[in-house]
Amino acid sequence: MWLPFMGLVIGVIIGLLTDIRIPEEYSNYLSIAILAALDTMFGGIRAQLQNIYDEKVFVSGFFFNILLAASLAFLGVHLGVDLYLAAVFAFGVRLFQNIAVIRRILLAKWSSNGEK
């Protein structure tokens, strides 16, 4: 269980240390991509807790969602429609749902443990 956490820490460190400059208008895409990534992460956690976790689905979903969200935002900028709102909305709703499910499962586990 420590390996993913280590990976997260390493990723954060790399992100803080790299000195890549990207134009300001692309930072929006990055935000959307992060939202997608977070959504996928929590989805994966929920799936794990519900014992329906599939690695292929998780990994492909992770990268595909990131790309999709970023390209959606890109398309929105070029079409003049705030399409990234769609991504924000979709991922946001799913994020909350996932977190709620995780919470319920954890609560159920905890209460069942307490009963024991």
Binding site: P4, M6, L8, G11, I13, I14
Partner: protein, 236 residues
């Protein structure tokens, strides 16, 4: 075995995903922070900015005013300098004139090229009953001196005594008196001026030389370089 391997790969892939996620989060955070620190300004900073800008404008205005003043002052200084130069020139000219007039008046020693005229009494002639006919008289001296002055002599002296604008020459028997000093013959008249002009003026046909020679006076004329005349002594 296979289950364990699967779990292991699972962890590796998961950590890879986590690396990407962490990277993205940190990167985005950093970018946003940069943007915030760059783009957003608080009210206090804004006010400070404006006040600094106002100060800068004020400074520039004062600078411009001072620069203008400096230019004016420089112009004034230049005028003063020009005036001073003019004054200096005037003074220089005045000094030069004063020196020149002093030379003309005989207040200082003068030196220059010129001619020397010597008038001597004629040979004793027993046939001539009146010795006045071959003596040098003051009117002979006058003639020579006037001719010299007319032809541009700037200074004239008789036997080394300078003549001034109010000199007098009188006949005093065998001698002539110049400004109270008596001079016997022969009379040496020196004049400073253009030697050629002075010599040819005296030598002109029917001129002073011929008249003096007619009066049995021994007349000798020679051009001389570096004639020195002492200043007039005594009064005035």
């Amino acid at each position: 075995m296979s289950l364990k391997k699967k779990v292991k790969t699972n962890r590796v892939v998961l950590s890879l995903v986590c690396i990407v996620l962490g990277f993205m989060i940190a990167f985005s955070y950093r970018i946003n922070q940069n943007e915030r620190s760059k783009g957003m300004i608080t009210d206090r900073q804004w006010e400070q900015n404006i006040s600094l800008r106002n100060q800068l404008i004020e400074q520039e205005e004062t600078n411009r005013a001072l620069q203008k003043e400096l230019n004016e002052k420089q112009e004034m200084v230049r005028n003063y300098e020009a005036e001073l130069a003019k004054e200096a020139e005037i003074y220089f000219n005045l000094a030069e004139d004063a020196e020149k007039y002093r030379m003309f008046l005989g207040k200082v020693k003068v030196k220059g090229n010129g001619v020397k005229v010597t008038l001597s009494d004629g040979e004793y002639n027993p046939n001539e009953e009146n010795i006045n006919n071959y003596l040098v008289h003051e009117h002979h001296v006058f003639k020579v001196i006037n001719e010299l002055y007319i032809s541009g002599a700037t200074a004239v002296a008789i036997n080394g005594q300078r003549l001034t604008h109010n000199s007098y020459i009188i006949c005093d028997g065998p001698v002539i008196t110049v400004d109270g000093y008596q001079h016997p013959a022969p009379f040496e008249i020196t004049a400073i001026g253009d030697p050629e002009v002075l010599a040819s003026a005296l030598n002109i046909t029917g001129g002073v030389k011929d008249q003096l020679v007619n009066d049995e006076i021994i007349f000798s004329l020679q051009e001389q370089d570096g004639i020195v005349m002492d200043p007039i002594v005594g009064k005035k």
